[in-house]
């Protein structure tokens, strides 16, 4: 009888223990970890609050590219339809990811590994190009890389969006 009593107590304790707990701790995370933009603090502006102005998938390297504009560049876009007719002191960020197959849908490709961010700046007369790699390190571009970024940047257009 004593054994029964302790058995009941232990099972009850186990049951209550397994049922209790903060419901919020069961919340989980569903993220694209490899696409995370780490060291975003080094970028010239915060893309979380900036305006997306373009997207592209490059044919040669299969990069998913998203383009953000700072407030000056975005305001100018309203009066100048193409991105390459900007106001002085405009800044853009072209973020590159290697595309990967979407794990939850055959027939789709999504951003895979985050590669780098190209910073495009316009001082009123000419464009400047810089790169930040995935570790947030600033890298100077070669002449070829600059030309490639410039060509890509000139192709991007604001999506047709109501």
């Amino acid at each position: 009888m004593e054994h029964m009593k302790y058995l009941i107590i232990s099972f009850t304790t186990l049951f209550i223990g397994s049922c209790s707990g903060d419901p919020k701790s069961s919340q989980k995370s569903y993220m694209n970890d490899q696409a995370e933009i780490a060291y975003a603090g080094v970028l010239p502006f915060d893309i979380r609050s900036a305006q997306l102005v373009g997207t592209m998938i490059t044919e040669d390297e299969r990069h998913a590219v998203l383009v953000w504009a700072d407030s000056i560049a975005y305001s100018a876009r309203v009066s100048h339809p193409r991105l390459t007719s900007p106001a002085a002191n405009s800044n853009w960020l072209l973020l590159h990811w290697k595309q990967t197959d979407d794990p939850v849908w055959i027939g789709a490709r999504i951003p895979g590994a985050y590669l780098y961010a190209d910073h495009v700046q316009y001082d009123g007369k000419r464009f400047f190009y810089l790169r930040y790699n995935s570790r947030g390190e600033r890298i100077d571009l070669t002449a070829d890389e600059e030309q490639k970024t410039a060509r890509l940047f000139s192709t991007i257009e604001y999506p047709d969006i109501p």
Binding site: Y30, A40, P162
Partner: protein, 310 residues
């Protein structure tokens, strides 16, 4: 006691016998055009899919016995409404590709087709890894690449039109209002759907973005809203894919109490530049739920957002 058992058994047998007289027809319209893919692919589809997804349904003896017959009839009618290999002429090349990719995902990604109980009773219908690999190879070969769109030169004119005339969208049939500010929200992902030939941008409102920043987006909290803009894929002269013509924008609005009957989410979509609400009746969202049900474990969301960390 034995008498009670006999009475119950007797009633059961009588009900069973009466059920056999309830036999609504399974329609068998003629085949207008059969699926015309490679022979080995067709063989796989015939064995695993055709009973419910064609007009060439072949019932076994046990399919003829009610209540199984009624269940089979429902599956056949529903299956044909989604995909019918006997009316392959009723869909164009693009639509065929989309249907096949959708089917491939139900088979390989979600494992919901063929129906498990069907395979138990029809062992030849089982899709082995080898058969799935063959199907996948064939369906992936249907990707025709990005069409070059010379009309992109006129996008700038469209942009001017966008800025001058703001379209006033009416409510969705389920009462959800259009949220014009979505394009100013945080972008949390992008997707190239080569099966649908479209490009998508996924936006999150402040509540959803905060949940993502905190790493607590399963489930999303009430007040979270996700929006997805969809454009046709168009290529420039270098073959780079860009958003072309705007197709639609759709929303998922989280309110676990208000939308309890629709999985905690309010669903809505607006089509084209005129922002015409999608759906004829207020239960149109059953279609949304049907597609999103396979991802119920991720709070009915497909999108894996990327985080931005300083």
């Amino acid at each position: 006691m034995m008498k009670k058992v006999k009475i119950i058994l007797g009633i059961g047998i009588s009900v069973f016998a009466l059920l056999q007289f309830y036999r609504p027809e399974i329609p068998m319209p003629p085949v207008t055009k059969d699926f015309d893919g490679p022979k080995e692919i067709k063989q796989i589809l015939r064995e695993s899919c055709y009973d419910c997804h064609s007009n060439e349904t072949q019932l076994k003896w046990f399919d003829q016995i009610n209540p199984a017959y009624t269940l089979v009839r429902e599956h056949v009618i529903k299956g044909r409404s989604f995909l019918n290999f006997s009316h392959w002429d009723s869909v164009n090349q693009n639509q065929r590709r989309i249907l096949l990719f959708d089917a491939l995902n139900t088979v390989k990604t979600f494992g919901t087709m063929p129906i498990h109980e069907y395979v138990l009773l029809h062992p030849r219908a089982e899709l082995t890894p080898g058969k799935i690999a063959l199907l996948e190879k064939y369906i992936l070969s249907l990707d025709t690449g990005v069409p070059y769109d010379s009309t992109r030169k006129h996008i700038t004119q469209d942009q001017k039109n966008n800025e001058s005339g703001k379209v006033k969208a009416t409510n969705a049939p389920n009462g959800i209002e259009f949220i014009p500010d979505y394009k100013n929200w945080r972008v949390i992902s992008t997707s190239e759907r080569f099966d649908h030939n479209s490009i998508r941008i996924i936006y999150a409102n402040e509540t959803a973005a905060r949940a993502i920043d905190q790493g607590k987006n399963i489930p999303y909290p009430d007040g979270a809203i996700l929006a997805k803009g969809v454009w046709e894929r168009a290529a420039d002269e270098s073959g780079n894919a860009l958003p072309g013509k705007f197709i639609h924008v759709e929303f998922m609005i989280k309110d676990s109490k208000k939308y309890a009957s629709t999985k905690g989410w309010g669903w809505a979509r607006w089509l084209g530049k005129d922002l015409k609400p999608f759906g004829k009746t207020k239960t149109f969202d059953n279609q949304c739920i049907s597609c999103h049900s396979p991802v119920r474990k991720t709070d009915f969301t497909f999108t894996m957002p990327f985080r931005v960390t300083p």
